[in-house]
């Protein structure tokens, strides 16, 4: 077993592009769910809004990719209003149902043959990132950094953009949440009727929170699309939302650091188990007493099982996540 490779890959995953784009999506979900209590199960749709905002600049509009940013913001606002107007006056569960359905609808629409010319169908869009790549200050093929954190110049550029956005987002949310605005949304999470009785328009705050959170989802989708150099409809399926949510809970809800470190740990653990299992069964399947436990074709599935097991243990032993506050958790349901 090559522990050095496992270690190197794990450390790299901690700070990798996947962790960065997950962190951006988690920052958004944290605003919505962690602070305001809005159960948005459709963060993937907001991510798709960002990715397709970028992609459609070349695919459909034939304009500079920079216009993808305002386009993405427009998509996020439309999506937020579309989902929010019918559901935000109702209980939280309705939002959850509607967002999960909307996210699926968005994915099915953009991958449909009918709209091939606009969204590129199931092949997606692959032609928008040249302008972005031309800005890369690093040599794409060269290696940068100090071991174990060594990345190619190509990746280094998205990492730089990604983690810069994560830092700005963290400061943004931190500022928001220590302000009177943050106090109102946290109060809405606790009891929205009480907030209403004190003269605040709960509906308007929920909408603001949904769209601000969706904005970070959009940035996440953009970073991901730029890293892959392509926009694929199936990258924005339900799984993504739930992995991001999982990573957020792992870090701790309603904590700025939780929304950043959670995704880092999620990907660190994921890559560690993946590398470990692969090396374990590289030459022959793992057998215990004549029973085959795992063989090389099953690494992917078993890895997800282990991640799931880890999360169950986490919820049982440390339900508040890494950065959460146990005392605060204990106030629930009193």
């Amino acid at each position: 077993m090559n522990w050095i490779t496992i270690f190197e890959n794990t450390i790299k995953a901690f700070f990798g592009v996947d962790a960065a784009y997950f962190a951006l999506a988690a920052i958004g979900l944290n605003v919505q769910f962690g602070y305001t209590g809005l159960l948005n199960f459709g963060q993937a749709a907001f991510m798709a809004a960002g990715a397709y905002g970028l992609g459609m600049t070349s695919q459909y509009f034939g304009v500079s990719f920079w216009l993808g940013i305002p386009l993405g913001i427009i998509f996020v606002i439309i999506l937020g209003l579309l989902v929010g107007i019918p559901t935000l006056r109702l209980r939280a569960d309705y939002l959850a149902i509607v967002t999960i359905a909307t996210a699926e609808l968005v994915r099915l629409v953009v991958r449909s043959v009918r709209f091939n010319a606009i969204f590129g169908g199931s092949d997606g869009i692959n032609t928008f990132s040249n302008e972005f790549r031309a800005l890369n200050p690093f040599e794409p093929a060269a290696q940068y950094g100090i071991w174990p954190l060594r990345y190619s110049g190509y990746t280094m550029f998205t990492l730089l953009i990604g983690w810069t956005l994560v830092s700005l987002g963290a400061v943004f949310v931190w500022l928001l949440m220590r302000s009177p605005w943050g106090r109102v949304v946290k109060a809405i999470r606790e009891d929205e009727d009480a907030v209403r009785s004190l003269g605040k328009s709960v509906y308007s705050y929920k909408m603001q929170s949904l769209i601000i959170g969706g904005f970070f989802g959009m940035l996440s989708g953009m970073v991901f699309a730029l890293d892959r150099g392509s926009v694929q409809p199936d990258n924005y399926s339900r799984d993504v939302t739930f992995y991001v949510l999982t990573a957020l809970v792992l870090g701790g809800l309603a904590r700025v650091m939780g929304s950043i470190v959670g995704p880092m740990m999620f990907w660190g653990l994921f890559v560690f188990f993946d590398n470990f299992l692969r090396q374990l069964v590289q030459s022959e399947p793992l057998r215990i007493g004549g029973v085959t436990i795992i063989q090389s074709t099953q690494v992917g599935q078993v890895n997800y099982m282990l991640v799931g097991l880890g999360l169950i243990l986490l919820m049982a032993l440390r339900p508040q996540g890494v950065f959460g506050n146990r005392n605060e958790m204990a106030l629930d349901g009193r």
């Binding site: 943004f172 500022l175 928001l176 220590r178 302000s179 009177p180 605005w181 943050g182 106090r183 109102v184 946290k186 109060a187 999470r189 606790e190 009891d191 009727d193 009480a194 907030v195 209403r196 009785s197 004190l198 003269g199 605040k200 328009s201 709960v202 603001q208 601000i212 005392n327 605060e328 106030l331 629930d332 009193r334």
Partner: protein, 291 residues
């Protein structure tokens, strides 16, 4: 009642005005802060609220009593915008406010508390209080990002909040989570928080439910104190000792309708009231706790 303390002109005028009002259901008052006409709310076939005329005298403490299911809380919900009336009009302080949404009623100066206390458990007591202040610059998200824009307002809000906490003897709990408070303390916090909005009409839904006798006495004093400063208070209550002790005027509801009005003494002697309670509760005195 303590007649020797400092009492505002409004409260004095209210007391004089109410002394001359006939004890009849739906009677007009001298200077009503709240007037409701023909308010109806039904759930399926049940007429939860069917109030022909209701007026609340400015500067008074008015109690709204009645057996369980009389429609007191539903009336509260309708008037404060938490529920929608099927028919009817009501005015607050001279302006038409029928079916105005809940948060706008609060900004107009009519603030309510809830029967089941709504303390925001994961916010500290002081944060609960500060939430109550209206017109906060920092509650707009684009201002929220620049603390310089709201810091000075925030500190004046904090001073008001601390003063109110001290008045309600809650200042020692200032930095605790509201979720750690006892039931009685939560009632106090909810009332103090409502006062942060600077209401002209404070509507309390069962302020005494689950409060121990000592705290009840001090709650009574607080309510009287607020009236004496010129605030109008309308409260729903089952605790008849409190109703008799603190209220200037009592309105009795049964089966959605107002069946009697009058001073506490007049109500205690009113045969329609006794019948409403006896009918609903098989021989219990109305002076027992009806819960």
């Amino acid at each position: 009642m303590a007649d020797n303390r400092l009492i505002s002109q409004v409260a004095l005028r209210a007391r004089e005005a109410l002394a001359g009002v006939l004890p009849e259901p739906g009677v007009a008052k001298d200077d009503p802060i709240l007037r409701a006409i023909g308010v109806k709310r039904h759930f399926g076939g049940v007429n939860a609220v069917d109030v022909e005329h209701l007026e609340v005298q400015r500067g008074s403490i008015t109690a709204l009593i009645g057996p369980n299911g009389a429609g007191k809380t539903t009336l509260f919900n309708v008037l404060t915008g938490f529920d929608t009336a099927d028919a009817g009009k009501w005015q607050f302080d001279g302006s038409e406010v029928s079916n105005v949404s809940a948060h706008r009623m609060a900004t107009k100066g009519m603030v309510r508390t809830f029967q089941l206390t709504k303390s925001l458990t994961k916010l500290s007591v002081i944060e609960n209080m500060k939430l109550g202040a209206t017109d906060q610059v920092g509650e707009r998200w684009w201002n929220a990002l620049f603390p310089l824009r709201w810091k000075s307002q925030e500190s004046s809000i904090e001073q008001r909040a601390d003063a109110l906490l001290a008045r309600f003897s809650m200042d020692h709990m200032r930095n605790e989570y509201a979720g750690t408070l006892s039931g009685g303390q939560r009632k106090l916090l909810e009332m103090a928080r409502a006062l942060m909005t600077d209401p002209r009409l404070l509507m309390l839904d069962e302020p005494m439910a689950g409060v121990n006798p000592v705290l009840k006495q001090s709650l009574n004093d607080h309510i009287r104190g607020l009236r004496d400063e010129g605030m109008t208070i309308l409260f729903v209550e089952h605790d008849m000792d409190m109703v008799n002790d603190v209220s200037d005027w009592v309105i009795v509801m049964a089966e959605g309708k107002i069946i009697a009005e009058g001073t506490p003494d007049q109500i205690s002697a009113n045969s329609a009231v006794i019948e409403a309670y006896l009918g609903a509760h098989q021989g219990k005195s109305m002076f027992e706790d009806v819960e």
